[in-house]
Structure formats: C-alpha cells, structure tokens
Symmetry: C2
Subunit: 530 residues, 2 copies
Amino acid sequence: MYPRKLTRSVITNPDYPVVETKGGKLRGLWEEGVFLFRGVQYATAKRFHMPQPVQPWEGTKEAIIYGPVCKEIHTPIAHDEYNVPHYHYIQDEDCLYLNIWTKHIEKGVKRPVMVWIHGGGFSTGSSIELYAYDGMELCDFGDVVVVSLNHRLNCIGYLDLSDFGEEYRYTGNLGQADLVAALQWIHDNIDAFGGDPGNVTIMGQSGGGGKVNALIQTPAADGLYHRAVIQSGLMTGSKDLLPERSKALGRAVAAELGLTQETIHEIETVPYYILARAAQKASKELGVGWSPVKDMDYYYGSGLTNPFREETKKIPMLVGSVLGEFDQNYNQVYAPGSKNEWDEALVNRLFDERFGENAQAVKDAQRKAYPRAKVVDAIFTNKGGRIAARDYCFKRFEEGCAPAYNWLFNLECPLNSGTIPWHNAEEAYMFHNACYLEASYIPGVSEDLQDQMTGAWVAFAYTGDPNHVGMATWDAATKENGACMIFDVRTRQEFHHDDELISLLPDKPIMGSNSRAPETTFGGGPRQSL
Amino acid sequence: MYPRKLTRSVITNPDYPVVETKGGKLRGLWEEGVFLFRGVQYATAKRFHMPQPVQPWEGTKEAIIYGPVCKEIHTPIAHDEYNVPHYHYIQDEDCLYLNIWTKHIEKGVKRPVMVWIHGGGFSTGSSIELYAYDGMELCDFGDVVVVSLNHRLNCIGYLDLSDFGEEYRYTGNLGQADLVAALQWIHDNIDAFGGDPGNVTIMGQSGGGGKVNALIQTPAADGLYHRAVIQSGLMTGSKDLLPERSKALGRAVAAELGLTQETIHEIETVPYYILARAAQKASKELGVGWSPVKDMDYYYGSGLTNPFREETKKIPMLVGSVLGEFDQNYNQVYAPGSKNEWDEALVNRLFDERFGENAQAVKDAQRKAYPRAKVVDAIFTNKGGRIAARDYCFKRFEEGCAPAYNWLFNLECPLNSGTIPWHNAEEAYMFHNACYLEASYIPGVSEDLQDQMTGAWVAFAYTGDPNHVGMATWDAATKENGACMIFDVRTRQEFHHDDELISLLPDKPIMGSNSRAPETTFGGGPRQSL
C-alpha cells in the first residue's frame, strides 16, 4: 500500500497502462518499474449465492484504487498496530476484488504467479489489511506476478444454510468458492499481465494458510494452482467443521432472525449488521465459528487430519511457523523492563509459574534447541503451530506427495530491546517489505534476511524448490530427517533441533494467563461486536 | 503514518524515549532522527460535556500507537483514494488524542510548535486521515515540533442542546472546546517535547481551516497560539450558524429520539449509530449542518464576515487556496482522454456549455492570468475559495491586523497526463511529503517546490513572516497590492493577476453538472448514512 518514497513519475494516463481482460479493458498505473492494477473485480455475487463471472463492459475502467474489503463482524481495536500495522479500508459486501503487481503487460512472458490469500481466520482481514502484504517489492525482487485478493468472510462467507434448500447447498463454503472464482479469473486472464496460468503458487498466513490447506482439499480448485505455501496456518487440536454443526448454526441464525423455511429468502436482504448480530449470538451459543464445512462434496477436510487427495499430491509445499506466534503477540508484558535484562531470579520465578516441575527441563531443552538465544525465550515459544507445520510436512511425505519444506521464522526483533517474533512477523520478510516495518527492522540484518527468505519463496514459485544460491541448503522434511530451515540472523538448516523442547512446553496458550498488553492512554480490550 | 523505508533501527525501549507530562510518563519512539509520540490523550470527555483534564497516572504509558479517531457519521467510500490517499483508522467516541513529532525531548529547547487541525468539515476526518498529514518530514525539515490532533465531530461535537439546560450550554461548540483543550495541553506540556509554548502556530485545511478561522473568534483560545494558517478553509457565501437554528436542530434530534426535557439525559448513553441516524434525519429536514454556533459567548462568528476581535489582531496569518479545489476533485471526467490533448472544437464546446456568452471573455482572461497554462484550465478553476482567501487577507489589513499573506497552489499534477490541483493537493507540499504521493509527484519539481513551500510555512512558524532565501519575495496582501504567492513549477509573486478571470467565472460549483468521476469496476456514489 502507499505511500512509499517515489523517485520516478507515476504514470496513469488515459491510454496507458491498459490491459485487456476477458471482461474488458482495465487501466492501471506504472510506478517505479512495476505495473499495478488495484480493485479488479474477479466475480460478482448475490448474498448467499455462488460467485458469478463479471459481466463484460465497453470502454476502459480505472483500476488504480483498491476495491472495498469484506464487512468485518467485529469492530477493530488498535492493540497490535505497532507490531502489525494495518491498512484499514472501506468495507462492503461487494468485495470480490483482487490486486495485481507485475513488471510486464504483454502476453507470453509467463512469469510465475504468486497469489496471496489473507489471514484473519475465516472472519476478518483483507488483501490489503496489513502493510506487509504490499506486493510491489516482491514483484520487483523476483520478477513475479503478485496477486492479492478479498473474498467473503464470516457470516456472509461461511454460514451453512444448506438445510433450507438446494439453492443454498454450498453456503457453508462460499468464501472458499470465491477463492476458486479468483483462481479461475487468474487462470483466464493472467497471461495478459505477464503471468503464467500454468504456474500459480497459492500462499497464505494464519487464516490464509488455513484457506490454502482447505483449497488443497477442494476439488473445484484442482488445476488452478501448482504450488502451495502455508504460513502459521495450522494448529494442533483444530477440528474440521462437520455439516451437522454448521447446519445447526445456520438454523440457529435463521431462528434468531425469526425466519422459517417459507421466509428464508429474507436473509438475503436483511441489513448486514442485523445479520451479523444474530450470527454472533448464535455462534457464541452453539460454540461454532466461521470456517469451511467438511461436506465431502465441496471440501474434504484439513490435510493435517484427513488423507490428502490424489489430485493434489503432486503439489510441492512450503509449510512453516513463527517462534512466538500467539504466545508473543501484542508485545506482551510479564514484568517491567526488557526480557533480555531480566535477572535470574525473575526468570526462575516466571519459569516456575509457567512450567512448574518441568522448569529445569525446559531450560536445558531450550539451551539445546537454541544455544545462542536467551533461556527466557522459552516462555514466548509457541508449541501448537510449530508441531502442526512440522507434522503436516511429515504427513505429506508419508502419503507420497511432492516435497514439503518446513521452516521456522526466529528473528528477534528490536522492540523493547528484544522481542521474540510474533504471529505475522515473517510476512514482511517473504514479501521483501522488512525495511518498512518499525517493529522489526534491523539495519544490515533485515536486508540480508529478506533477500534470503523472499529469494526462497520466489525460487519455489519458479521451480517448486526453494533452494537458491544465497542461502544454506534446504531439504524437504521427513519424520526421519526432521529438517527445518531456521530464518534468523544466521539462516540455517537444522534437524530435529527442538523435538525435546516443544514436547516439554505446555499445550495451553499463554495469552490471558499472567501476561498482559502494555498500557496506553486509551483502552485496548477485545474486539467489540458490531 | 508508516510505513516509510527505514535506514536506522527504530528505538522504543522500556526506558527510552520517555517524556514526563503533567499527567505522567509517556514512552514514544525514535525513528530516523525524530521522536514520535502517538495517541497521547489530551483530555477526557463525557458525551455532550466539556473536555476535562486527564487524570494523572503512575508508571509509564506507551504512546507508540495512534489513538482512536472520532466516529464518522457517514460510511466512507473509495472514490478519491488515488488523488487523496486516506489512512482509515479505528473510530471511537473516546477520541481526544494528539500526536507529536519532535527532534528534542529535553526542556528549554523551545522550537516552534506547528499544530495541525484536520479537515472534513466539522463532521468527518482525523489527525491521521490523510497520508499527507504525516508530521515526520516537516519536523525533520524545519526542526519544529509538529502536533496533530483528533476532536469530537458531527453530532457529538456540534449538536446544540443548550435549550435543555445550563449543563448543555456549550454543546454546540464542544468540538471547538476540544481544540481549546488540546491547545491548553500543548501550552502546559510541550516544553518537555522541545517545543515553545510561547510560539504556537495553528494551521488547518478545508474544515481544519474553518476551525482555525473559528478559533480566532473564540476567546477561550486567546493566548494559546501565536500565528495562524488557513488553507482552503474559507468559501464565499458560507453563513454563520446562529443559535436559533442550531437550537432547533438540537430540539429536533431530541424529538426524533423521543426525548423530552425530563428524559434528555438519555441522549448521553443512546448508542452512537442511533443518535447519528436521528441527527442525520433532523439535519436533512431542517437543512442545518454541523458547525460552530455563533453564540457571541463561546464563538463570535467567521472572520470573513464579522469584525475581527481585538485580542487576535496581532496574529499574523497565511491564507490561501488551490486552483482547482472542489471543481477538480476526484479526477473528474468531461470528455475522453487527457484535457491537455483535447482539440479546440471540444474545448470550445465545453467553454460554451460552462460559460455561455462569457466563453470568449473567460478565454482571454485565462490567458492573461496564466499565460503559460492551457486555456482549458479555466473549466477546472475554483472561484469561491480563491475570492474568500484573498478577501480574508484584505479584511485583516483593513481592520489593522498583523500581516496576512495570500497564496495560491497551482501545480499541474501528472495524473491523466496533466490534472489541475484539487482540494487537498497542497498539503503534501507544506508537510514536505510530496515525494510520497502517487498522484502529484513530479521528479525534480516536487523536491524543489516542497522545499520552497514547507520552507515558507516553517519560516512563518519561526518568525511570523514566510519569507526565506529559497523563494521569491512575498508581500503581505492588501486590497491595493493584490499580492499573491503562486506555488507552481516557477513559484512567483503576482499582483491582481486573476481579478478579471475570477470575476467572470460562474458562482455555481461545477460538481454534479456535466462532470463525472471515472469508472471503476466497483461503485462510487455518495457517502452512505450509517
């Protein structure tokens, strides 16, 4: 997202740059050597109906402004704006837009296409929610075509109304159907933007990683992508949403709105905030959230716990996580001062509180896993995300899939004189945007690490193999080798390095226990209902 | 606002940088040589009550995240995101926060303080709404202390409930009282941030300029500022809001909510969106908008049409406008292609449509006023803002005030192969942010012009006189000399240069006549009610 400091005149003239899509002509802009097309509509959709192709138009439409993003079911709060700067934007149910960054607008150039699918679970976020998502540097660094997209979320993307009739059959997976529609648009149009429809990498973080995991188990997406990346998108213990529960939620929301089989169509026109309030109430009461429905028709369930489908075994993957994840978001506070300056007595007390009788064993395992790091870092180390990413790779190998490469992002950030990286921290490094982020930028270090990491992602997009000459060798992960690429000041491959440590960490998340966010002069607190 | 490309490590450590305010300690950050303090609470306020000083606190609070901005009464749309990029942010009624950029955090340094008051009429916007408002470059360029602030707007800032009792006496001017509270906080605390409480410049654009105009006529603000800047904040024909009309609106909103003298206190707790809907309905029915009330107690009415108060005659001012203003916002389209490539027949037709029997006279006057510009530019030239800014300066002189300097921003921007500057276009140039804005950046030109223009604003903040060695001489404006500094590729002072042209232009605004915004693949249209 803008602004960045410009050095060349930005061009967006009436007749340049213009690209002809199947729907009609689009006029984008040229900036610092990259063509940008913002707010490109890839489909239209009536509420609770499947996405449809865009109607063709005459003349040229402008694509220099981002399209609206999906309605959010919660009001945002500013608690994590420093660690994870957001680009808040205009929300609308009409949100099926994508953005393109490319260095070429002629056909036949056939550069790899890297499609970014945003996080925020399946309920919030957008293609432009985080500054780290800006595709310009990645496009320029790798000479790849970067696409980011919005789709329907929360109660308009994943509310299963299939009990109310055949026309609502896929309502529990509409958000996923939007993703498929976007991939279809890319397949049909990306050649005109210099992209190779035969080489599309889908990648996403957090919920976006979850969406990639889901697409791999979605027959409708087969053939529309060729490589896949999951970043912090898997968690041990997460369960597939089964139709009996998703349908129960659909019925409960309808009941909350006073709708019956006879009047159910009114759900297509009730104001969003009324629908959202009913949906939140029913969701809370039933304990069912927003996610794709494993109906064994549109979607076959998470690859972490279900067999991989034969059709997607050929897809090579990058699957990894961040050291801290949710255990180190929002710049958590356990004690005054910097964690790197806490004295031994304080660290011992915190270890006793957190690990109980395992305190000493965790210390020993931490020293073994990360000999150059502080012992105290174990407090901020996430277990569930690390195990899930690793085991997903092992499972791919065991089921005879194409190589899956496991990674761990572990760069200590300068915030608070040293902070373990949080959920989202790696994104700026694979998007080559690390120099733009206050909380994580380290002069001389960030430049090198983003070259290595973005380089790996780009190499993977080109060839299906992330190895490149600027980085240590990276082996596909197997249960036997336990191979993991650690992105850090010294990027290195290790083997089974943290088996013992993560087995000793407690399962329960640390948030909400004895940690707290730092105090501002304004309130923080959880997201509010609409 | 971030991000910008960093070259040095950003410091925000537990104990540095920390500044002690009257309320308590605040921890900000150091970035590229500038200290930033974001989201600093300057007052608290119950809805429909006057702002109160912040309660003191123990320990250190973080000030590295922007505070919430005021609730907006309309939903934003994306029509002007390219010309005027926005930083949308979290909205809350709890919005009395300011932001500080400074190069010093010791007392006694006494740098000039430049306080930015945002636009958006009196109903929308925030201290961080536009990327152009980022204070870092201005601070760094001028070694000045930059402050930007939020305050209450629309129906929570300017709804006159004074008919309902003494406790609501100033409700029609609460948004202004917030501004005064912010200036008081600055007066009491800015020394600790390297600022001089004895040298405070207030400045604002559009509604922000209107707020500066109003502060000059507000006794409560006397002594809290020493120089003033109005940018595109005055318009011919605008009328003061008088108590009989503002009170009628207050009564109508209460009635719409079903409230009486006995139950009026419930208006303090009704959900904002319900209040806002009632307020919009009543506002529309009565034809009364949101602005300060000329009650001859808190506020004495616009300086454009009322006598200047003796107390503020000593305030030097910069007062100016932009060539296009509202007549050239949103990249308007009259005909296909670039206006600079329209043929003579088309230009003649547009002139006939717009100017009728004056078409030829306008052409002649345009050539005389701007001999190096295209004749067609007259179509996009704003009349009301230009006359109001000029006449305001003349009136200052006539009433024996300190010098008032008139200016006109007239840089043709590269968008669409040449576009007349729009409302907001000058902000990036006096904030030294022109290199960050896609729509207006011109390599080699923007760098020079922003040095000249920011230099003038900084010189004015230091001395009350905008003249500096990097720019042509600039005389205070009088009706006799008609002096105007024209900021353009060739910045120059002219005298009575456009008297004839603007007298020939029609009064009615051009928007909504035969112009239209360019087409995107998503809808534009007016802002929606909540």
